[in-house]
């Protein structure tokens, strides 16, 4: 897997490269500005880009803008965005054009190396990785939505993991239930929320996120 890193903090940039190289992943370029990142993507044609949200010059959302731009130039590019804190607007901006091959994680998740690598591989493989914090905030924001209220606690757990981008097998493993059980819960959730059932993870994430953002099932 060929990776480009865009992170303006030298120590963190080196740390990330060290971690990924130790896992035998191919870090082809490390960059510290949006411009050099876009240049590196054009030059190396990586599979995945890992991008920090806050980059020079204003340290606000340059990373998101650069990620969206890189995906516009290279439609197949998988992007994993790292953020210092959860900002709904960033997630929305990023996921606006579909959730496949996209990840939005809090920076500290990188420390949980196994989970981070799983997310990285999921994104590179065409899937989605949304930080549990983002999903948690979206769920917390709509507790009074009557449809969500109709979900059983177990169904809510499944919904949250589904929104993070996990597939049925991964959800089953996290919740210690069988895949068949997960499948049953998901069918029930989709029925209660009036969502069209779909087994493709990215479509599922888009549908669930759109629902949680309050746009409703349409």
């Amino acid at each position: 897997m060929r990776i480009v890193i865009a992170e303006d903090d030298p120590l963190l940039r080196e740390g990330l490269a060290l971690l990924l190289r130790a896992e035998s992943l191919d870090v082809v370029s490390t960059t510290d500005t949006p411009e050099s990142f876009l240049a590196a993507v054009a030059e190396h044609d990586p599979d995945v880009a890992i991008v920090d949200v806050r980059m020079p010059p204003t340290h606000t959302n340059e990373g998101i803008v650069a990620a969206v731009e890189a995906r516009r130039c290279r439609p197949g590019l998988a992007v994993l965005v790292l953020s210092a804190y959860v900002e709904q607007a960033f997630a929305t901006e990023l996921l606006a054009a579909g959730a496949d091959r996209l990840g939005y994680l809090l920076k500290e998740r990188v420390g949980r190396v196994e989970e981070f690598l799983t997310a990285l591989h999921r994104v590179a493989g065409g899937g989605t990785a949304v930080d549990p914090e983002v999903v948690g905030q979206l769920l917390a924001r709509n507790p009074h939505t009557s449809a969500l209220g109709r979900l059983s606690p177990r169904e809510r757990d499944v919904l949250a993991l589904m929104a993070e981008g996990l597939g049925n097998a991964a959800i089953a493993e996290r919740l210690f239930i069988t895949e068949g059980g997960v499948h049953k819960h998901i069918r029930s959730i989709f029925a209660k929320l009036d969502l069209a059932p779909d087994d493709r993870a990215d479509r599922r994430v888009t549908a669930v996120l759109r629902y949680l953002k309050g746009a409703g099932p349409n």
Binding site: L16, L19, A22, E108, V110
Partner: protein
Amino acid sequence: MARVRKRLPASFDAVARLVGGLGTALLALTVLVWSGVVALLSCVGVGVVLVPSALRVLRAVANRERARLGVLAPGPVPRQTRAAVRDVTVRRELAWLALHATAGLVAGFIGLAMPLTMLQNTTYPFWYRLLPPVDNTPSFIFWDIFRDVTDLTGALVVALTGVFCGALIVGLAPVLVRVQEWPGRHLLAPPAGVDLSLRVAELTATRAAALDAHAAELRRIERSLHDGTQNRLVAVAVLLGAARRAVDRDPAAVGAVLDRAQDATEQALAELRAVVRGILPPVLADRGLTGALTGLAGSCGVPCELVVDVPGRCAASVEATAYFVVAEALSNVSKHSGAASAVVAVRRKGDRLLLRIGDDGRGGADERGGSGLSGIRRRVEAHDGRLTLDSPLGGPTTMEVELPCGS
């Protein structure tokens, strides 16, 4: 008798206020005469240029009366003559001027003359013998009626008129005060809404500026926490994660990774300390600006002369910024300038705090060089201050910073 005694303090007070009013009335009379002259000159054209200054003098005198009466003062006179002449406040002040320079003056004069006459006449029996027999014509009023008094009976009659005069004061002075102060209280007070809205606008603007500075300061702190300290800690987490994975696979590499993690931890601590010091250096609270700066100058890498002339204290955030500026500047001097000596001068001029940091080093300081200069500029501008840097190649370097004191 008891009633009179009760009213005595009020009478003294009334007399004092009448005499105070006499002062502003004399000023008003002068301005009235001058305004008349300016108005006459304006009819033939040349006086127009004098109108703005005349109106400013009028405002100054009116504000004196406002201060005396405890009436809220308005903002400055409108700049344009046309607008100023149409201004409601100015017109009301002109009306006040005419009344106070005439009726107010008379009331004030009576207020001064009556007590003096009373004193003179009541004590007359004790000293009328001392007057030269022929030329006994002092200049106080009522005097002429008694100019030929030479015997004790006459003198006692004079003393009686003095007592009568005292009674008049007790009865009349409060009324006179009301007459004298009426124009000021009614014509100089803000006309419904107009002046207060100006004051409110002014206060709103300064308050908004203060809030802006505060917000910029908070943004700066947020940034240094997110982009500095948090990144260090994330790096620690990443390195620890990498070390854990390496334990099984490549135990020899673990030591090196842990070393880096430890470095990152120390950096995080150093940055956290810097952020906290940037918010409010503890030494400022303990020793004030002068003491804190003395400590900085003493720990500077090159000999540093310090001159501080700041009476009183500035707002805490301003002192913290001044401290931060000097600390950063001196750290630049030690690290980059190659100077043999440095000078720090801090003084207060009006509501501005002026800082000057100079060194005799090699100059060529550049804000893009990552030497903390951009941080200094950001922080100074957050306070609506100004930074000027003069650092030609070959030196010397002088940095001047101007900060509003906020107190």
